[in-house]
């Protein structure tokens, strides 16, 4: 336990420069972009009066030198002030926090789904190498590895919602019906199935391939031979000895890909009108709502930093030899 806390502390300290770097990056792209916030607002509100524009610039601190602006930005962000969206008439952080739970629900369900399917398929393929099952799994994995997730989602809508009518087309829940708590949860699960599968299948394909390779590699190691020699059943060897070790590369991959899962949920959310961060950023980009776009970019990056930290802890549990660097 002591060791875990020490590791957590060290990783947290290491995350600080990364977060700082992300902040600088965000500030840079905000400043490198042609025109500033006031230009966009002026275009929106049709303000042309130069006195009003200068006043606006002053009130946002845009008349200050760049290093002062950078410092202001930093101080604000540390206080969780990511700016204000005039279109929503709300602070950016509130808008994002309102949409965050839906995205997290989608992401976690997809990852859990991808892990379950991917690991099961990878183990099944590795236990019977070059069998029919192995080949079928390989072909399916290669296909889903190449298919754009938004397209898979659309085709699922055509099949399961339009043609068969089994699943709802879009949204998080049925609108305008007053359910009890349990029915509402069930309703959300019902709506969650298609987006989670559309997003998860790509990663399931990745995990299946990695899992198969890593299982095969570990089956050939000495400690597995020892386990077999002491008379353990093939099933016990596979689950107790090989599986646990073979999981390590999958966990590494998960941590490397968390950002892409979050990014992938943007397009999948757009397909299913899922009311999360993804649909929010698409709206913000189309509406040129800069503070909101950069706010989402920042918060999404921070989420990846935190998630990576959690994955590292899982990794340490799986392999006690690993000292967190």
């Amino acid at each position: 336990m002591e060791r875990t806390w020490r590791a957590v502390r060290r990783r947290l300290l290491q995350a600080i420069p990364t977060i700082f770097g992300i902040l600088i990056l965000n500030f840079l792209i905000l400043n490198l972009a042609p025109g500033d916030l006031v230009d966009v607002m002026a275009a929106d509100e049709q303000i042309t009066n130069p006195v009003v524009l200068a006043k606006l610039r002053e009130s946002y601190g845009l008349d200050q030198p760049v290093h002062v602006q950078a410092l202001n930005y930093l101080v604000n962000v540390v206080q969780f002030d990511l700016g204000y969206s005039y279109r929503h008439n709300l602070p950016v952080i509130d808008i994002i926090m309102d949409r965050l739970p839906a995205t997290l629900l989608l992401m976690f369900t997809s990852i859990a789904l991808a892990m379950t399917i991917g690991i099961a398929a990878g183990v099944a393929a590795a236990r019977r190498v070059n069998s029919l099952a192995d080949n079928v799994i390989s072909v399916v994995a290669v296909l889903f590895f190449a298919a754009p997730s938004f397209w898979v989602g659309l085709m699922m809508i055509v099949l399961f919602a339009v043609k068969l009518g089994w699943l709802p087309v879009a949204g998080l829940q049925t609108i305008g019906v007053d359910y009890g708590l349990f029915e509402q949860a069930l309703d959300i699960v019902w709506h969650l199935i298609m987006p989670a599968v559309a997003l998860g299948l790509f990663y399931a394909a990745v995990y299946a391939r990695v899992m198969r390779t890593s299982m095969l590699e570990i089956f050939g190691l000495d400690f597995v031979r020892t386990a077999r020699a002491k008379g353990l059943s093939e099933r016990k060897v596979a689950t107790k000895h090989v599986l646990r070790n073979a999981l390590l590369p999958v966990v590494t991959l998960l941590s490397l890909q968390l950002g892409t899962v979050l990014a992938g949920s943007v397009v999948v959310e757009a397909v299913f009108s899922w009311p999360g961060i993804g649909t929010l950023i698409v709206e913000a980009v189309s509406g040129r709502n800069f503070p909101l776009v950069v706010g989402i970019l920042f918060l999404a990056s921070i989420m990846v930093v935190i998630a990576n930290l959690l994955v590292d802890l899982v990794y340490m549990r799986l392999d006690p030899r690993v000292e967190l660097r």
């Binding site: 420069p17 990364t18 770097g21 992300i22 990056l25 792209i29 905000l30 490198l32 972009a33 042609p34 290669v142 296909l143 590895f145 190449a146 298919a147 754009p148 938004f150 397209w151 659309l154 085709m155 809508i157 055509v158 339009v162 390779t213 590699e217 490397l256 950002g259 892409t260 979050l262 990014a263 992938g264 943007v266 397009v267 757009a270 397909v271 950023i281 698409v282 913000a284 980009v285 189309s286 040129r288 800069f290 776009v293 950069v294 989402i296 970019l297 999404a300 990056s301 990846v304 930093v305 990576n308």
Partner: protein
């Protein structure tokens, strides 16, 4: 570097890679003959809307909800897809090689700083970053290409760095140092050629990734609206999914096959260029 005929012999052994190469070659041919088959702007309305595929011989792939020829958009979109994929990969490879080579060759404080920067770019969710770039700089095709490159270079940089770190201690590099060769020449003429095989493999996979990025961006309607694009057609077909789902299905299959082909070619290149890793 191995000889071309030897390379081809090894590549050919992987039958799915040859199939992948065939698919990629097909897309290249489509892109090349597109302007001759469909000389007019593919985004013009030319026929009644919602003609299904394989019904009218003049429009073998049918027309979309406003009467544009899907075949024209597929053929002309092939060029868009390939050009964006290749140029974005060149941008990513240049950035990745430069940063990885410097970090791996010099090590020390330079390496620390560059590795941190790489880590930051790896942490920022790629598509969200790309959306931010496009939102702030405008959805011109150059910005899209540069944006895709900027979100894709980290894998190349990490790999090049690792290669350089192991290669810089080898005898041939020490020999170059002894004869007082400049660092720049050692990096470019001595180490880089030896580090290239895994970079080539990775780059072929990056092209596939770039194709998917472009597809996602134009699907969301946030890419350049003035070029024919497969992803955009999927997005537009969405509006008539109930009555004419083929409008979204056809360009999706085109993307799927192209990415599949590129991935298979990447696997084949991996087998041919890194024979030691064949069983992995």
């Amino acid at each position: 570097m191995i000889e071309l005929s030897e390379f081809w012999r090894r590549f050919r052994r992987n039958r799915s890679a040859v199939a992948g190469l065939f698919v990629v070659a097909l897309v290249v041919v489509m892109a090349a003959i597109g302007p001759f088959l469909y000389p007019n702007d593919p985004l013009y309305i030319v026929a009644p809307p919602e003609i299904w595929p394989f019904v009218d011989a003049r429009y073998p792939l049918g027309t979309d909800s406003i009467g544009r020829d899907i075949g024209a958009i597929i053929f002309r979109g092939a060029a868009t897809t390939l050009i964006i994929g290749i140029v974005a990969t060149l941008v990513a490879s240049t950035l990745g090689i430069a940063i990885g080579a410097v970090a791996g060759y010099y090590g020390g404080a330079i390496d620390d700083v560059l590795s941190r920067i790489t880590e930051i770019f790896q942490t920022v969710p790629n598509l969200i970053f790309l959306l931010a770039v496009v939102a702030l700089f405008g959805a011109h095709i150059e910005n899209v290409v540069i944006g895709i490159g900027v979100v894709s270079w980290t894998s190349i940089a990490r790999m090049v760095r690792a290669e350089f770190m192991s290669l810089r201690e080898r005898e041939f590099v020490l020999a170059c140092r002894t004869i007082n060769m400049s660092s720049g020449r050692i990096i470019f003429s001595q180490i880089l050629p030896n580090a290239m095989p895994p970079v080539i493999v990775m780059a072929s996979l990056l092209v596939a990734g770039a194709v998917l990025f472009e597809a996602a961006l134009s699907f969301l309607g946030l890419s350049d609206p003035n070029v024919a694009s497969w992803g955009r057609l999927i997005g537009e077909g969405r509006l008539t999914l109930r009555t004419a789902w083929y409008v979204s299905a056809i360009p999706g299959i085109a993307i799927l096959l192209t990415v599949l082909g590129l991935n298979l070619v990447g696997d084949g290149l991996n087998d041919a260029l890194n024979p030691k890793l064949k069983d992995r």
